[in-house]
Subunit: 223 residues, 2 copies
Amino acid sequence: MPNNHNTQHASVAASSSSSNFPHNAFDPGVRHDRDDTSACPFCQIASVYTPYNPADPPSSDADLLNPEAGAPSPATFVVLSTPLLVGFLDIMPLSTGHVLLCTRRHRPKLTDASAAESLELGRYLRVLSAAVARATGVHDWNVVQNNGAAAAQVVPHMHFHVIPRPELRSKGPERFTSTMFGRGMREDLDEEEAAPLAERIREVVAEVMHEEAEAEAEDKAKL
Amino acid sequence: MPNNHNTQHASVAASSSSSNFPHNAFDPGVRHDRDDTSACPFCQIASVYTPYNPADPPSSDADLLNPEAGAPSPATFVVLSTPLLVGFLDIMPLSTGHVLLCTRRHRPKLTDASAAESLELGRYLRVLSAAVARATGVHDWNVVQNNGAAAAQVVPHMHFHVIPRPELRSKGPERFTSTMFGRGMREDLDEEEAAPLAERIREVVAEVMHEEAEAEAEDKAKL
Ligand SMILES: [Zn+2]
Ligand SMILES: [Zn+2]
Ligand SMILES: [Zn+2]
Ligand SMILES: [Zn+2]
């Protein structure tokens, strides 16, 4: 199976030593033309998956979630798709439910995002965090966002990682350490598990959006 | 010098092994009453530093930045203070310019933030990232936010770390590794360096706010 963006690594800790540090075509150190997005895996995903209303997600078999033309390989499991942002399962998860949230447009670093994109990133980081926690049952997690090669950024299209952290110490220190550090335990996403997981996350995103709307209505009623 | 919240650690990697993992009164595993904020160092900071307009920050000698009563110890170097959020230099920085951005109100995890707070967190993460990069001259950085003990959260009041990552490999692999992992190289904030650094960050935050307002005015003119 082709795996043309397994450079989509995750945590700060993934760059623990310079010898482990992956250098390749996506290395931001060698790509400066921010309009050259043809090789960007996240731009490819953004171009194929059109926006939908997160409060009313399409069913898993909807055309919108199953594009015929230009579908990236390996398969993408979208959990959010708005006019400004796209969220999807990491193809090499550190844990079940590891998702990425990126701008739809190609923005190399967080500081390249527009003010409107920044607001939406803040909004949906909370929504996605809640959705991932409820969908996985794991209520501890990290949010990580890397900018530049020295900060371990590999795909030069800004993205946040949301990484569930199940309590692993009972399984022994080795597994705990390797999972925390992003070494060894990363595996290709299991596509059979991924489809229902992504569907569940989309459903819970919708729940959280409804809760947010209710809370806002209550706040307005108080004024 | 008293250092009553040096538990304010930073990166995901800080919890590399369970033996290194600090357990103390701020462990979210043992504090569930989110209204008991008397022991929370970030609530203390929030209560002492009142909001100001980030686009027009007070001078370093202003009373607002030098509260007489209730000032936390060690000294706090505020870089942002709005009705919803507070930003300040980490008291045990992983690198020069390491700042924290938290909600003014006590919110244990990101998912406890309100919708309005989430929007502001997104907005000011970009602004603070830009300000820290310009103030330090270091243009690679990580954004890290930990939720829960299994994710290495120590202070149970939600906060984002913005951590500049100077290119350290030229100084040898040992220094690079220890800085990336948040072990060994953390030192107490140098208060003499901190005051002018915080002032510079406040100034650049104001610059970025003006740039944001100009970009918005241009966008509106186009419509
Ligand atoms: Zn990444
Ligand atoms: Zn891109
Ligand atoms: Zn922290
Ligand atoms: Zn607090």
